[in-house]
Symmetry: C2
């Protein structure tokens, strides 16, 4: 076995856990097709980067593989991501008709149902985090809710989306662009690392800070690569409409700095992420999944 | 002093606490006008029935008047209510332009910002419930989040809205109508009573069950009275468009059973609410605010 095959096995096992849990916990029986719209938005698509990050971070700090709190946090984070895509795709936002190679939720179920499905997915994320306290300790529940709510909210993802809305057609400088992406995309990725670490044994301040730094850098790298892929990859490979940001005159790293410098920035961020993992002081074998996920983020082709 | 003036003083003091907290806790500085859209949706309007219910239930079970957990739960519940109004009013839902006598959020700020403001208000509700655990115990935080998430979600408010969407132009029977309203409106009112009770000392099973029954009956009464007011009151008094349900051929208690029987049902529910309070076994003086709020719900004119 080499490291690549170790990670492949780790990823497949954890993807299966996440898919099984999502399929079991997002109930099709909810009233009037709402459950079906929600399942359509969540199941059978997506790379599941965010839930994998939660699980990898939990294992990095020494949580057992079958930790229920981490699985719940992983799935909750994916629901927040899924709801944001449903709402983002709506006609009053990005007006996108294709997502993960399928018609978007509002195309399939109508705008009103898409709006409700997104709202209900957000609520369901917080249901996932609050099972009976015999299953997850109240302190872990409260900590994860606090992290996820703040990462999703007006000083997190939603705030980043508001900056994005206001910035179309404006020239942002790199600091402004970083701030937008730190909130819009980065906050949830950072939250994933932090929730995962919260589900395991308590860590030193140095370890927690290093993991948070890893989450921040990874979030930024993710967005830089996203911007690169938007101009270098076709819609079929991406599973969503390519070239959309450029067509909408949205600010991107590529638009700001050019393609080659954006690629160099992505490489530099990958090195910073690696350094943060080293700084955590955690055992190398437990860091393997986090390290491999960071590599995957930077080297992905869709 | 008579009971009416006692309640008037109680209500004014608690309304002031809620308004102060909302104004302080919904931050105008959030990026790109998002905070302003959220404040526009939440502040300076509304009867604050839901937060008052939380505070009244907390005091009924013996929580001190200045209980921070109850104030946070009260404001969180109001944010959920406010976000649901913002999204309900959007063109793809009810397409309403007037709310509490002001232009609706999407008229004032645009649809995209209204969508985001609603999303961010939901997240902020869960931020309110998760302060540092030195302020509210983790067990209370987890319990309130669990109650609020379930009351808001696909087997709560959002599920009721989905039934509402699917039911336009269909003739529901009374059981179906009750189910819709139990979820759409009732779930949040019941949740208010339950969160309030969670913030005080632990209660017997009988007391908790009686308070939940009070919350359920009150929720139903609220909706019956809403349907009555929709046909008996003008838009200026309501602060929103009157006659809208009838015009949209939406199922209502008045459409189903006629105006006079709907009014008799409201009276009967008021008696059931009173009985539930008696069954709680809680001291009469502590029940005063809950009792007066129930009377207010049934006798309100807007």
């Amino acid at each position: 076995m080499n490291k690549a095959s170790d990670f492949k096995a780790w990823m497949q096992a954890h993807l299966d856990r996440v898919e099984d849990a999502l399929s079991q916990w997002v109930d099709a029986q909810a009233p009037a097709e709402l459950g079906q719209a929600m399942r359509y938005a969540v199941l059978d698509g997506g790379k599941r980067l965010r839930p994998l990050l939660v699980l990898a971070a939990a294992e990095a700090v020494g949580a057992p593989t079958d930790n229920q709190a981490a699985l719940r946090a992983a799935c909750a984070l994916e629901l927040i991501h899924a709801y944001s895509l449903v709402h983002d795709d709506m006609p009053c936002m990005d007006n996108d008709v294709l997502r993960r190679g399928k018609p978007t939720v509002h195309v399939q179920f109508g705008q009103a149902q898409a709006l409700l499905a997104g709202d209900a997915l957000q609520a369901l994320a917080f249901e996932f985090l609050t099972p009976p306290i015999t299953e997850v300790p109240a302190a872990v529940q409260a900590a994860c809710v606090g992290l996820l709510a703040r990462a999703s909210g007006y000083f997190g993802m939603a705030g980043g989306q508001a900056i994005d809305l206001a910035s179309v057609g404006h020239r942002l400088d790199e600091a402004q662009l970083r701030q937008m992406h730190r909130l819009k995309t980065g906050a949830l990725l950072l939250c994933g690392v932090q929730m995962g670490a919260t589900c395991g044994p308590a860590q030193s301040h140095e370890t927690s800070a290093a993991l948070s730094r890893f989450g921040e850098v990874l979030g930024l790298a993710f967005q830089v690569v996203d911007d690169i892929l938007d101009v270098t990859t076709d819609s079929a490979t991406l599973g969503k409409t390519a070239g959309k940001d450029a067509a909408a005159d949205k600010p991107t790293y590529v638009a700001l700095m050019g393609l080659a410098p954006a690629q160099r920035l992505a490489d530099q961020l990958a090195q910073e992420a690696e350094q943060a993992l080293l700084d955590s002081g955690l055992p190398a074998e437990r860091l393997m999944p986090l390290r491999a996920l960071a590599t995957m983020v930077v080297q992905r082709t869709h």
